[in-house]
């Protein structure tokens, strides 16, 4: 079949060559998808020009998550009991010696997954698992369905509603195990279920489970006692608990991010620290001290050596993952106190190519920082309170004809 397609493509190409000439042009595009803290919208902004491209209407204020391919952004609308999918309009196709970029208008695809209290979103092995705390259910779909506007999902159900998480892992699903005595508290472990929904092996203990990330071939869940490290093994997932070393001060990670390009994990550890987790190193856990309490942190998907942290004194810090320390800092905003509600409007970080973008919800602005010089280079104004932000884009060839 592949060969038929290839033959057909060659035929089409040959026919095209008879009448037109085609040429390749290098094109770069980056788009910012920015939710508002109070309004049910996603503002789509051209990160290169600062111009707003469109405003996509939602059912409620949203947290945003982008897919690994960058083709889809999911808007998790906790207060509206809804998760919506938006096509970013930027698609890459790998052609081996080059990549093509196709740019179309961003749009809501029509995929809307309803459920009570949507919370954690996890993409793994090409599938998205959306967990609905109010039902204790994970609803799973793939990118093609989300792009096509489909709403059919497969469901995996935990034993009780709880603030949980699920992740597809090959033919299995890893599902948080609720605290049966106190379902309002955090989960107590991970249950592995097969494609028929049957439990495989014992529950892997992970007290106060909160935080999950993937980096390279590894997946990690954060527990009060340490981490669960998940690897692919011959007979399904292999799950190992690694305790925090006694040399670390008392604390735990509750949010994890996975490194891109380098295999590591970055988490919070206390209010004014980050923890670097390198499962391959003898010194697996390293702490990075921050000058004040942490507001948000993000990894750089393009420059694997760096991650970024924003602190309540209004500074953005460049974290050197290899050296395990802060390398540079730049002041961007007025102070944002971490006192108050955890979900108050505070800055969030995204990386768009050579630009680091930080939302400043109380000033209705996005601040731009050059990733190389680590100097502030400009602002983009938006109405409302720009809050959650994700960036998609890159460079590729376009093949125009004349």
């Amino acid at each position: 079949m592949k060969r038929l397609l290839a033959a057909a493509s060659i035929a089409v190409l040959a026919a095209g060559m008879a009448t037109t000439s085609s040429f390749a042009e290098e094109k770069t595009a980056w788009r910012l998808f920015v939710s508002d803290h109070g309004e049910p919208v996603i503002n789509v902004v051209d990160a290169l020009t600062g111009n707003k491209i469109d405003t996509l209407p939602l059912k409620g204020p949203a947290s945003l998550y982008r897919s690994a391919s960058g083709r889809i952004v999911f808007a998790v609308q906790g207060k509206a009991d809804m998760v919506s999918a938006a096509s970013t309009g930027i698609t890459f196709e790998d052609h081996g010696d080059h990549g093509d970029i196709e740019i179309t208008a961003p749009r809501l695809t029509g995929t809307e997954i309803a459920g009570t209290k949507p919370s954690h979103f996890v993409e793994h092995d090409g599938e998205f698992a959306l967990f609905f705390d109010g039902e204790g259910v994970a609803r799973i779909l793939d990118e093609k369905k989300a792009l096509d506007g489909e709403t059919s999902v497969r469901e995996v159900k935990a034993e009780a509603p709880h603030h949980g998480v699920a992740a597809v892992f090959g033919d299995y699903v890893l599902l948080s195990e609720p605290n049966k005595e106190k379902p309002d508290e955090l989960p107590v472990g991970i249950r592995v279920v097969d494609s028929a929904g049957k439990q495989v092996g014992d529950i892997r203990a992970c007290p106060d489970l909160h935080g999950e990330a993937t980096s390279g071939k590894l997946m990690v869940f954060a527990c009060a006692s340490g981490i669960l490290l998940v690897r692919d093994a011959d007979q399904g997932p292999s799950i190992e608990h690694i305790a925090y070393p006694t040399s670390l001060p008392s604390g735990k990670a509750t949010t994890l991010l996975g490194g891109k390009g380098l295999q590591y994990f970055l988490g919070n550890y206390g209010a004014d620290r980050l923890v670097l987790i390198d499962p391959s190193a003898n010194d697996m856990f390293r702490l990075v001290e921050l000058p004040t309490r942490r507001v948000h942190f993000a990894v750089d998907p393009i420059r694997p050596r760096f991650a970024y942290a924003f602190t309540e004194d209004g500074q953005l810090h460049q974290v050197d993952i290899v050296a395990g320390r802060l390398a540079q800092s730049v002041k961007l905003t007025d102070p944002y106190s971490m006192d108050g509600h955890w979900s108050d409007p505070r800055p969030r970080i995204a990386v768009a190519g050579d630009r680091i973008v930080v939302t400043d919800p109380l000033k209705s602005q996005l601040h731009l920082v050059d990733a190389t010089s680590f100097a502030k280079t400009g602002d983009i104004s938006l109405t409302g309170k720009p809050f959650n932000i994700v960036a998609v884009g890159g460079s590729g060839e376009t093949h125009a004809t004349e």
Partner: protein, 313 residues
């Protein structure tokens, strides 16, 4: 000023130490080897004059390897980085960038005669646009599967060590010569083992197409469902095609590889009624207590497994 004085003193100490005591007190040459087979070559050539850090260790798969911050630290402090080249190490570029390493990067396949992948694999790779992280193109990178090429790797390592540490050059060349002699013996063993297999039985199946150079050098045909890289997933149609091919070609044996998931090979074994003959070591050595802890043991293990499965051990 103080720093300059201190540096001058340190330099004097190093120089005096080198002159007076020779190698006994010198720092070993810090070398990073991209994967375990190269690491074994480097240790044989460098002896105790080099300190080798291996990125992709025993039973590890360089095709899908994800480097870590600890790897970047090793790269940053290395003077030499030995790699296979021919796009084998898809992770290399980003690791070099992340580490800001100033080390010389030496491609050990320099001087070998590259061969192309078998046509069907090259077409599949092209149709799928390579795979995540890198694209092999049509050139097979697994040149170390021919002992003749392994000797070129060894020579390249000796040259690189001489460039980086001229004081040890005689040692490196002597070590390389001694190891090359062993490789000559190994080459002879492989040829004799294959010669003992009847021509019509010289067809085997492995997980991924890592044995092109072995096939080219020694005349044993390998069929593989997984194509060039362990990172590519064969389609059901690809597997069905291979099953049919196996039946027609009457493959004599089927093997799992140490770096690949065995499930696919087991499925083909069931469908073709050709039993799994054992484990071949393709892109990595075994752990120290395994049957392929060195390159020489790896090749010996592979020919023993192949010969045993086809002829009966």
């Amino acid at each position: 000023m103080l720093k300059s004085i201190r540096r001058a003193l340190i330099l004097s100490v190093i120089t005096l130490t080198s002159l007076s005591a020779g190698h006994a007190f010198a720092e070993p040459l810090k070398v990073v080897a991209s994967f375990s087979i190269i690491s074994d070559f480097a240790k044989n050539v460098g002896g105790d004059r080099v300190e080798v850090t291996t990125l992709v260790g025993p039973d590890g798969d360089a095709h899908v390897y994800e480097p870590s911050p600890a790897d970047a630290v090793s790269m940053a402090s290395a003077k030499l980085v030995l790699v296979n080249g021919l796009h084998f190490e898809g992770f290399l570029q980003r690791l070099v960038e992340a580490s800001a390493s100033k080390a010389a990067i030496v491609e050990l396949t320099k001087g070998i005669t590259p061969i192309d992948f078998k046509k069907e694999f090259a077409e599949a790779e092209e149709a799928e646009g390579g795979h995540e992280g890198h694209n092999h193109g049509s050139t097979d990178p697994h040149a170390f599967q021919s002992v003749v090429n392994a000797k070129i790797y060894v020579k390249n390592i000796a040259d690189a060590f001489c460039n980086a540490d001229s004081a040890g050059c005689d040692t490196y060349n002597a070590n390389a010569a001694a190891y090359t002699e062993k490789l000559d013996g190994l080459d002879k063993e492989v040829r004799e083992a294959i010669a003992a297999i009847p021509q019509e039985k010289r067809i085997v199946i492995t997980s991924h197409d890592a044995f092109g150079y072995f096939e080219h050098e020694y005349g044993l045909t390998f069929l593989a469902p997984q194509g060039l890289s362990t990172d590519s997933e064969p389609s059901a149609a690809d597997v069905a095609k291979l099953v049919e091919q196996v039946k027609q070609d009457k493959a004599a044996a089927i093997f799992v590889e140490n770096i690949s998931n065995p499930r696919l090979i087991e499925q083909i074994s069931v469908e073709t009624d050709v039993k799994v003959g054992g484990t071949l070591y393709s892109d990595a050595l075994s752990k120290a207590n395994g049957p392929a802890a060195t390159y020489i043991d790896l090749m010996r293990n592979n020919i023993k497994q192949i010969k045993g499965a086809i002829l009966g051990s």
